[in-house]
């Protein structure tokens, strides 16, 4: 128990005064000393070490009154009050005032059921405000995330450019983009067209026509397995770099991606490198006069399965 302010102080022989002040140690949060007001004979600072017992209204010391009188007088200027300084956590450890200071508890607040009800009713009312906003806000933010895809046919060149079989020929074309409210711009893209022999065609189609569907599952176009022209997307399926047609020392003429050295043969099959899947094919149409048209598509890079994103 901490010595209470205003409680009497008694030495071994007689009563000497009362507790005027209490001094706390800011590090250990304990009472280190207290100040005795000696009935008109000044104030003395008494360390807690000489205290024998502490009760509600009495502090009993071991030393005699003369020993206490011999202590140096208390120097107030060496100390500050708790209001003048910030010592976190100290207040909780101060119990030097007997009794409590109280204010009336309002009649209306005494009912716990009422209090709880209104607290919860506040949350429910908040629900009426917040919940209706959730769905519209989410849809608002998600607007450009799953935009419908553009399935226009683009003219990219003439097959007269393709001189040999099973050789990659780069076709460059422009695609017009309209993003939200921005004016229409054109971006330059490239695709690789290969005039494939039946053996290569077999490797690509494996006996089945290639069907392209939109996000709702409706078929857009089917690449017939007997049409000899293949159009590969110009983006490497590994991480989207633009690849080239090169002569490899060992593997011969191949598609080679300079970024991470993925190598593909004329059918798009992965020969070497980190590519997760073969080259992506796009829908292709070749007219009687040799005009090549494609539907420009882009696919998610780095995945084994092919997911169209543009």
């Amino acid at each position: 128990m901490q010595p209470q302010l205003k409680s009497k102080v008694r030495c071994a022989d007689r009563e000497v005064g009362e507790v005027a002040k209490v001094i706390m140690d800011p590090l250990s949060f304990e009472v280190s000393a207290f100040v005795v007001s000696m009935n008109g004979a000044g104030e003395r600072q008494v360390p807690m070490g000489v205290v024998q017992t502490v009760t509600d209204n009495l502090v009993q010391l071991r030393s005699s009154s003369s020993e206490v009188m011999a202590l140096p007088p208390f120097k107030r200027e060496d100390y500050v009050t708790l209001h003048e300084v910030e010592i976190p956590g100290l207040e909780k450890h101060v119990h030097v005032t007997p009794g409590e200071v109280l204010v009336p508890f309002p009649e209306l607040e005494r009912n716990v059921k009422r209090r709880t009800f209104f607290a919860n009713l506040t949350y429910v009312t908040g629900l009426f405000i917040g919940l209706p906003m959730v769905f519209p806000v989410l849809k608002y933010l998600m607007k450009p995330m799953y935009a419908p895809m553009d399935n226009r046919w683009l003219k990219i060149g003439n097959v007269a450019k393709v001189k040999a079989n099973d050789v990659g020929v780069q076709f460059q074309y422009k695609r017009s983009i309209k993003e939200a409210y921005m004016p229409e711009t054109e971006i330059e893209k490239n695709a690789w067209v290969v005039k494939a022999t039946p053996a290569v065609l077999e490797k690509v189609y494996q006996g089945k026509d290639m069907e392209f569907r939109d996000t709702l599952g409706k078929p857009i176009w089917t690449n017939k397995k007997d049409i000899p022209y293949l159009a590969f997307s110009g983006k490497c399926p590994h991480l989207g770099c633009a690849f080239k047609w090169r002569n490899h020392k060992i593997l011969g003429p191949v598609f080679l991606c300079p970024c991470h050295l993925s190598i593909y043969d004329a059918s798009g099959k992965v020969l070497d490198g980190p590519a997760p899947r073969p080259l992506d094919l796009m829908p292709i149409q070749v007219s009687a006069s040799g005009e090549v048209q494609i539907i420009d598509m882009e696919f998610k890079a780095g995945t084994k399965s092919q997911t169209r994103i543009v």
Binding site: K113, R114, T116, L121, F128, L131, P132, V134, F135
Partner: protein, 359 residues
């Protein structure tokens, strides 16, 4: 310190004070206007949040459209305990309206149970705190039909009177400027002065009618109030009572039900909120997009095949015709050389297929 005062009930006093502690702001005999206001004002505002939630929902559904009368509609909805039966009279009889849509009638019908509940709550509070009486059972219903009755009769009268007064005031103000002694004032000043003149008249008349209306309501309700027995509970007790009256018997159930209602209303709101603006600007009206005609592969193939065979047949026919024509030419030349040689008409080849006739 307490004075026990017994005040003789007079025929038009609505509250009796028995043991009035000194200084309490209480009323020996409350005027009917104060009575009417003291019950109607809290009841109308208590019901408003619920009525507003319904109004917003109906707006999202699109079954109600307030146009330029939204302020008037708001006031009418706020005062629905008195306006609910006056509205049909005003709309149909007097030709005014507060908006279009089937939703308006529905809104006011749904406001009825809300108003009954609100009037019950406000009435009980008023009785306990201001009159120190025990609220009777079904207070809400009684108060409601009395208010609705007064409103049904008085509101149309108020409407007509206010409109007539305003019209007269406007025309008088106008004439002051047209050919009265204020002729020649510049436009801006004229507008403000005119507005002040007829606005003051209209406001004063409206305020008087309003007070009269409240007084009528108060008089109507007085009977119910006076019939309620006194309670001897002290002030503190009464306040606690009406305060705790607002806590339902089963708070958990009430809160669950309310949460459920919030979820249901939100779902309804989400399903009916128009995705794109209901008032598109001229620049950006959405063009009618027709779905591209379905591509029926088999049908097209059959059609094409038929067409090809038709065309092939026609080509054959034309070739033969040409051959025949050339033969004719050769023959006529021969004829020119050999006179009496009978020309054997070449066979007309195959009969012309009927299909070729139809293109």
């Amino acid at each position: 310190m307490q004075k026990a005062e017994v005040i003789r009930t007079r025929s038009h006093s609505s509250c009796i004070v028995r043991q009035a502690p000194p200084g309490i702001w209480m009323n020996d005999h409350m005027s009917p206007t104060k009575l009417g206001f003291g019950i109607l004002w809290p009841a109308c505002w208590t019901g408003l949040p619920f009525k507003l939630a319904l109004a917003v929902l109906f707006l999202a559904f699109g079954i109600v459209d307030f146009e330029t009368r939204i302020a008037l509609a708001f006031m009418m909805l706020l005062a629905s305990p008195v306006s609910v039966f006056a509205l049909p009279t005003i709309t149909m009889g007097l030709g005014s309206h507060i908006g279009d849509g089937a939703g308006i009638g529905l809104l006011f019908m749904l406001a009825i149970p809300i108003d009954i509940w609100a009037l019950g709550l406000a009435g009980r509070t008023f009785l306990l705190e201001r009159c120190r009486r025990e609220p009777p059972a079904r207070l809400g219903l009684i108060l409601w039909w009395k208010c609705a009755f007064v409103g049904a009769i008085f509101l149309p009268i108020l409407w007509v009177t206010e409109r007539a007064t305003t019209d007269v005031a406007i025309s008088i103000a106008h004439s002051l400027f047209e050919d009265g002694f204020l002729e020649g004032t510049p436009i801006a000043e004229r507008i403000s002065i005119e507005l002040t003149l007829w606005g003051t008249v209209a406001t004063v008349v409206l305020s008087c009618l309003f007070v009269i209306g409240l007084s009528l309501v108060g008089r109507m309700l007085r009977g119910t109030i006076q019939a309620a027995p006194h309670t001897s509970e002290n002030y503190e007790g009464l306040i606690t009572r009406w305060d705790l009256m607002r806590v339902p018997a089963d708070p958990g159930l009430m809160l669950t039900v309310l949460s459920g209602v919030a979820v249901v209303l939100s779902l309804l709101f989400w399903s009916t909120l128009p995705v794109l603006t209901p008032h598109p600007h001229e620049c950006c009206r959405k063009a009618e997009t027709k779905a591209p005609p379905e591509f029926k592969a088999l049908e097209t193939l059959n059609k094409d095949e038929k067409m090809i065979s038709q065309l092939a047949a026609r080509v054959e026919f034309l070739i033969e015709q040409q051959a025949a024509a050339e033969l004719e030419k050769a023959k006529s030349k021969k004829k020119g050389r050999a006179d009496h040689e009978a020309v054997i008409e070449p066979d007309a080849t195959e009969p012309v297929p009927a299909a070729v006739m139809a293109p």
